[in-house]
């Protein structure tokens, strides 16, 4: 089974702040780490590889510094990594990112399964998985909380909606995005950390992939961010409920919904 895991590098949790003067994100000095949900996707891929054999290929789009995250994935025991990196790809929104990743997956070729984390912890969009699936014309399971290999080319995944849980069967090739409930990602072991530096990290640019310049980077991104700011800090505003217990509860339940 040839599995591609899409990963994203994100700033270390809770370290991102807004400069109160300029209203810009303060990014300097923040260590990039692999998006936590993507670790669940890598773990799922490694377990499927243990079951079915094959290869786990990490795929990311971003600046050269994203090799840090790819290396982390390799140290979890993935086989190789691909980074799509070029100035022309900068400023991509989810649509342009999804297009670029889909093209890279086509270039990798003969991919049976694409796994991604349910969303990134920085942008919180969760859109890239379904966009990649749409571009590749593949079936999708989003927010999977279990994945089981039913046969060489069928997977049954569970997806929890608000009130129900679905069993979804897909025929590979397919795209699956995973929740953290799916598994507990393994640690990078000391030996694997050392060996990860012997594994291949291939870097592709937009020309290597023959990307349409109109569909990548800023040009290929329909959305624009017009402003970035810190949310208003709300302390808890205490509402005092009526003294009659029933009235209190009725008012409470009303306001809670």
């Amino acid at each position: 089974m040839k599995i591609v895991v899409g990963i994203k590098q994100v700033p270390q949790a809770d370290s991102v702040k807004i400069d109160p003067q300029t209203n810009n994100l303060i990014r300097s000095g923040i260590q990039g780490v692999i998006n936590p949900f993507d670790k669940n996707a890598i773990e799922a891929a490694l377990r499927l590889r243990a079951q079915a054999g094959g290869e786990v290929i990490l795929l990311s789009m971003g600046p050269d510094s994203y090799v840090t995250s790819l290396r982390d994935g390799l140290a979890m025991d993935a086989d190789q990594a691909v980074l799509v990196s070029s100035r022309a790809l900068g400023g991509a929104d989810t649509l342009a990112t999804g297009y670029t990743l889909a093209k890279a997956i086509e270039a990798i070729g003969d991919v049976d399964l694409v796994l991604l984390g349910r969303q990134s912890v920085d942008a919180d969009t969760g859109q890239v998985g379904p966009i990649v699936a749409a571009y590749l014309g593949l079936p999708q399971v989003t927010f999977a909380e279990s994945i089981s290999l039913e046969s060489a080319n069928t997977i049954i995944a569970k997806r929890q909606l608000d009130t129900v849980i679905q069993d979804i069967k897909v025929t590979t090739p397919a795209v699956i995005t995973v929740r953290s409930e799916l598994n507990r990602p393994r640690y990078e072991t000391p030996v694997n950390i050392k060996q990860s530096f012997d594994k291949a990290v291939t870097v592709w640019s937009e020309t290597d992939l023959n990307l349409d310049p109109e569909q990548i980077g800023q040009a290929g991104s329909p959305t624009k961010v017009t402003s970035v700011y810190a949310p208003e800090k709300k302390g808890r505003q205490t509402t005092t409920l009526p003294t009659d217990p029933t009235q209190a509860v009725v008012e409470l339940l009303n306001k809670l919904n």
Binding site: A75, R186, Y187, T189, P190, V191, I193, F197
Partner: protein
Amino acid sequence: MTVIEDQNRMLIQMVKEFTANELAPLDMEIDQKGDYPAGLFQRVIDNGLLKITLPSQYGGAGFDYTAAADALNKMAIGNASMAVTLEGHFKTIEQFTKYGQPSLNDKYLPSAGHRIFAFSMTEPSGGSNPKGISTRAVKQGDNWVITGDKIMITNGGLAEVYCILSKTEDDQMAVFVVDKDMPGFQFGKREDFIGLRGTPVGEVVLDHVVVPADHLLGKVGQGLEIGDNAHADARVLMGAILAGIIEHELGIAINYSKERKALTTPLYQLQVIQEKIADIAIARQNTRALYQKGAQQKVANQLYAETAAMAKSYGSRAAVRSGDEALQVLGGYGYSREYPVEHLIRDARAMELAEGTIEKMNLEITNAEIAK
């Protein structure tokens, strides 16, 4: 960043994550139970932590001593016992790679990724003063026959391979490697210590254990040198562990003094509290500087025994005193067994004794300074 720096950063991150998830939540339980919970040590093995310093030709990761010391420093912030267990293993591996014969290393070191190796000097008749050693090694054909009683061995009972400081018939000192599966090998009693309660410290009794000639580390007569070398290697790592304990103490004091208020003022805004927090922070920094210097000197093939002795001498005192100050910041809660400060003091106290007492450290430091 160089590749090595990148690899070291990844190792530290891995150890931090492992510690946060697997060790720190059990820190109190380990102290209270006086042992590692079932399965914990297996997780340490399964995640390759015994292989940090083991050279790659034996299936290890081959990280250098600075990386290993930094790793144990991070681990000790969450749980000092497990860090000491690894310290005992790492320092022993160092003696194999430095003094072991190739045939012995080929036979034993590949198993060091899943079996703990230990180094033992102390005997019931005396402290770690090797002159009073009564364990005997008698040459018999190509083999050596070893008989004796070793106590207070770090990881005694948990470890499977032991380096034994012995005297030969001609009263020379030598170190031999014995395996727990050899006939005549027996475990004795485990100590009931007041600190580092997860780390097993125990006794090994050898009754005519026969080992092949290549189980001799170095040469006959090199026993004391190897013992000193093992001490220095241990003390660098203990300095790292002590810096970790102080870091833990500092974290507790800071968190508490931010949350707890005297009337409306958070404690940390009070000068008396600031004095304590600053003292602890300085102690942390000094201990860190000492152990890192020792590790760097070792990696650079410079003399490091004196710095190692300083790291442990200074660090152990500083960690006990810092624990006491952190306890005072927490007031009555600090004195409660429900909070970890009191056990950190007990943990740190162990290192004023282990691998040579503070007095022995200070003697060695003084001798080294006078000789300069």
